[in-house]
């Protein structure tokens, strides 16, 4: 493979990582509070607001059930509004974030719901405020699950980021389609797939490592 092609791969990998990193950060910043709210706003729960909970649930489900490629196209006007353009890696961050936020919210909700309800009651009986319960009990106790959720979200984002290549989003997917598919370069397609596999493997390994490290429910000796 020529040095120019290798440079293309490196550049595309950089674009993919940039898109995924920014989208993951923003989606986590949005999805974490939404997920915590979803897990704690049912009837009789910490921030009981069953109606808002139900409405939010419908919005999250609607976003989750829209196929990603349709979401990308459907929100082009919104993407233009935010990014000034609908083409390139920067613009691709918008649909990636919108797709990942409800996904992360649902994963966070599941992780938070795993925390023993007895612990919430215990902290309440000490006179903890709902915010103290979230910060001192729910998040620390759910941390292993939250880290695994984040890992899963990043892996999914890598897949989505390859998909935005199909609509001019840049990155590894773009490279694979333009060179590997349209120019009949199977070695380029293979290289793109190998890089993606390596990235997913790395993300998963690092995520598993940290999730295990913070998990004190298991004996360590």
């Amino acid at each position: 493979m020529s040095p120019e092609l290798i440079n293309l791969i490196i550049q595309a990998t950089g674009e993919s990582l940039f898109m995924v990193a920014v989208a993951a950060l923003v989606a986590t910043a949005l999805g974490l509070p939404i997920g915590i709210f979803l897990a704690t706003s049912g009837k009789g729960e910490l921030f009981a607001a069953p109606k808002i909970n139900a409405i939010l649930g419908v919005i999250v489900n609607a976003t989750r059930s829209t196929p990603f490629i349709i979401l990308v196209v459907a929100i082009i006007p919104f993407t233009r509004l935010i990014a000034g353009t609908s083409i390139g890696s920067g613009a691709a961050i918008v649909p990636l974030t919108i797709a990942a936020t409800p996904f992360i919210a649902r994963l966070v909700e599941a992780a938070i719901r795993e925390v023993d309800a007895g612990l919430i009651e215990t902290a309440s009986s000490f006179g903890a405020t709902p915010l103290q319960i979230v910060l001192k009990v729910l998040i620390p106790e759910a941390l292993p699950g939250l880290l695994l959720a984040l890992t899963l979200a990043v892996v999914s984002l890598l897949g989505y980021s390859a998909m935005v290549g199909a609509v001019g989003g840049g990155g590894l997917g773009d490279l694979g389609i333009r060179y590997g598919y349209q120019r009949f370069m199977p070695e380029m397609m293979l290289a793109v797939v190998v890089v993606l596999i390596a990235l997913v493997q790395t993300v998963q390994t690092v995520g598993d490592y940290f999730a295990k490290r913070v998990n004190r429910r298991l004996r360590h000796r």
């Binding site: 007895g118 309440s124 009986s125 000490f126 006179g127 405020t129 620390p140 106790e141 941390l143 429910r217």
Partner: protein
């Protein structure tokens, strides 16, 4: 001290399930510095009672006072402040798995806004108090049930509460560990003067630790008083079944199998006598002296409960039903609870 005045708690109907009255006509006071056992079967309303004391729930009617404040009328910040004077320990310990022993004990202090330095000093004191100073940096998953409950106790006492609620705190522990935890609670009551309210379904826990007992059944207080009084003069059937557990199956199996419902000519009537205090030790001798009846001691168990000797004797009375009736009359006249179990040859 803790006082219930005309408390009723009804959970409203929800999703097609009818409303449930968990507690009614609850009127009692727990004296400052006492250890009061609240005993009842599961579903009797014990948990509702605890949740009313620590303000996690409000009574439908009536008031619940803790240290002279009507906790049922407080909310928000005032309630959270009041909750710091009420500690609680739990059956399943409810420790945070993500925190070390020391950090678990620190939790209520962090919530109360103590400084880091003050917290460190207080946590060290508490670890000493519950005798697990060497477990400072251990996580709950590395500790035994007894050690976890010690952390639970230290955490409950962290903010120097005047009342400690124990919700089945020893139900998940083996008998030996239960004993050690109950001893620790007795020490804490003695040395710190903390009022302890023990919620339990086991009479043996009440027996080992409490001075006062409240028996609840189906949301009602059915019996209450000094432990020794209740043990010797139980009025309600439910209390008697709790007592039968702790006094052991006092009819030996070999005797139970021979027991008949009708009098046996030339045989004995079998009586169970509940005894209390010094009188208990001499009841057999007194029957022999004062009634000239030689009763046979078939089975006996004497224990110390609430600082008094309490026991259950099973005796055989010879000479037919008339003699047995004479003995029962004598016992009842001298304030012993006694019942006829049957007859043996």
């Amino acid at each position: 001290m803790v006082r219930f005045e005309g408390v009723e708690k009804t959970y409203p109907a929800y999703r097609g399930k009818p409303s449930v009255r968990a507690l009614q006509n609850i009127d009692f006071a727990v004296p400052r510095g006492s250890i009061t056992g609240v005993i009842g079967r599961s579903g009797a309303g014990k948990s509702s009672l605890v949740r009313l004391i620590n303000g996690l729930e409000k009574p439908t009617t009536g008031r619940v006072e803790v240290d002279g404040r009507d906790i049922s009328a407080l909310s928000g910040r005032e309630l959270r402040l009041a909750q710091r004077s009420i500690g609680m320990i739990f059956q399943h310990f409810n420790l945070l798995s993500s925190r070390t022993a020391a950090a678990n004990i620190a939790l209520p202090l962090e919530i109360a806004g103590w400084s880091k330095a003050d917290i460190a000093v207080r946590v060290a004191e508490l670890l000493d108090l519950v005798d697990i100073a060497d477990k400072h940096d251990r996580y709950p998953s590395e500790l035994s049930g007894g050690q976890k409950q010690r952390i639970g106790i230290a955490r409950a006492l962290a903010t120097r509460p005047s009342v400690l609620l124990s919700d089945e705190a020893t139900s998940a522990l083996d008998p030996q560990t239960t004993r050690a935890i109950l001893d620790l609670l007795a020490n804490i009551n003695r040395e710190l003067g903390v009022t302890i309210i023990l919620i339990t379904h086991e009479m043996s826990v009440v027996r080992q630790l409490a001075n006062e007992v409240v028996v609840i059944d189906a949301g009602d207080i059915v019996e209450r008083g000094h432990v020794a009084d209740i043990f010797t003069h139980p009025k309600q059937a439910i209390t008697q079944t709790f007592l039968a557990e702790v006094l052991g199956e006092s009819i030996p199996i070999s005797l139970a199998s021979r027991l008949q419902e009708a009098p046996v000519p030339g045989g004995q009537a079998v009586l169970r006598v509940l005894v209390r205090g010094d009188a208990g030790d001499t009841v057999v001798a007194r029957l022999a002296r004062e009634l000239s009846i030689d009763v046979a001691l078939l089975s006996a168990r004497i224990d110390e409960i609430g600082g008094q000797r309490v026991g259950s004797l099973i005796v055989g009375v010879p000479g037919g039903d008339a003699t047995a009736a004479q003995v029962l009359a004598y016992l009842s006249q001298h304030q012993f609870s006694a019942e006829r179990l049957g007859y043996v040859a």
